[in-house]
């Protein structure tokens, strides 16, 4: 979907706010807040209990958050919104249960919650018995493109999950790496199977992406799935 999450190249978001590690140039790591870890663990439980069928399914739940919340809630707030959506859609919790518990914890009534656009909950096939340590798969076909090919990416349209950001669409780039076949997020997020597709790294020149005012000598590399691509004319 062409959602608020597709931030690449957008303007008006101000300067980067550095964290202590960046400012003090030393290793500070781990969770800043216990509730961040709680959300992280809740997210793990979504997978354990089948509310999230896979990572692509979960990522799409985050993309579906109301745009204002997406920009306001922070990273773990967005995960929380996605988790609520998946738990309610899976029937493990009702929205009333969540809202009532939130109120009983002293939350303001008027606080906006993650929106849950009505979506037909897809049906996911049981996970394959085969153990897959990664999302890489045996290819179903030979790759169409080769390193050195000039390609252009186009949106597949629709309202679903995709990993093709808008800022590279319609621009000519060059394939610089081929990674074999990988689970295709556009299918996997919606219960249409893993449908493995070849994955390539495509290199774009900054001036092609951003026009005459682009910074000098900048290239952009991005990993794109074969169905997004066609040979440049």
């Amino acid at each position: 979907m062409d959602g608020i999450h597709d931030l690449g190249g957008k303007q008006g978001f101000g300067n980067v706010e550095l964290d202590a590690s960046s400012i003090e140039k030393r290793h500070i790591h781990g969770f800043n807040e216990r509730w961040h870890a709680a959300v992280f663990t809740i997210m793990n439980s979504l997978f354990a209990h089948g509310a999230a069928a896979n990572t692509d399914h979960f990522r799409h739940s985050v993309e579906r958050i109301d745009p204002i919340n997406y920009l306001s809630d922070g990273y773990y707030g967005r995960w929380l919104g996605g988790a609520e959506t998946m738990l309610v859609e899976a029937g493990l919790l009702t929205q009333d249960e969540v809202n009532n518990r939130v109120l009983s914890k002293g939350h303001k009534v008027a606080e906006p919650i993650a929106a849950r656009p009505a979506e037909q909950s897809p049906t996911f096939a049981p996970r394959s018995a085969a153990y897959h340590p990664t999302a890489q798969r045996e290819p179903l076909a030979n790759p169409i493109f080769a390193i050195g090919d000039n390609v252009v990416a186009h949106s597949l349209g629709g309202t679903g999950h995709t990993r093709l950001p808008s800022y590279v669409r319609g621009i000519s780039g060059q394939i610089i790496a081929a990674h074999g076949a990988w689970v295709f997020p556009d299918a996997n997020a919606h219960g249409h199977g893993e449908a493995p597709k070849h994955l390539y790294t495509v290199r774009y020149q900054g001036a092609d992406l951003w026009g005459p005012n682009a910074e000098e000598s900048v290239v952009l590399n991005i990993d794109l799935f074969e169905p997004y691509l066609e040979l440049a004319q």
Binding site: L7, G8, Q11, F13, G14, V16, E17, L18, D19, S21, S22, K25, R26, H27, H29, G30, F31, E33, R34, W35, A37, A38, F40, I42, N44, S45, R59, V62, N69, D73, G74, Y75, Y76, G77, L93, R101, V102, K105, H107, E111, I113, P133, T134, A135, Q136, R163, Y167, W182, P185, L199, L209, E215, E216, S217, V218, V219, L220, N221, D223, F225
Partner: protein, 194 residues
Amino acid sequence: MSEKSAAIRAEALESLLVEKGLLDAARIDDVLTLYNERVGPMNGAMLVAKAWRDVEFKQQLLADGTAAIAQFAFEGGQVDKLVVVENTAEVHNVVVCTLCSCYPWAVLGLPPKWYKDPAYRSRVVREPRAVLTDFGTHLPAEQEVRVWDSSAEVRYMVLPVQPKGWETLSEDELVNKITRDSMIGVEVLAEVAE
């Protein structure tokens, strides 16, 4: 939603899930321990230090990062395939995920807040040189900037340039000096005057 509101909302969801047997609260402590203690940028720093001292390891790391790090059995996930990109005098690399916040947890730990915020994600693909100045990093105009947008399950880590004067340091000494930001690519390591 403010941080405070989100914290309350998270607490509500946690208590509900625990009651329903869908969440074991002890697992939250496990997650805290894992990412606060064992998974963090010291893992990536160790790889960088080793690469600087062992040319054969460096070649392996750059040729096939996934295979090169297999021996360390890092925890933390999010690295189906690791690609390590080398900074040189000619090329400076910087990593982002514009669509969400993909990050090589196993080698760098949890991503910093700024990596996940709209400002970094929106700007670094369009004006990386300007963004790097927010970090105090000023690149020469003749150095090519290569931005890597982690849009699939390949994860990227930057192998920074070793500053002059660090050649005599041990790998252990280096680990504390090699910053997270240098492995994301928003910082150029330099000997700090002490």
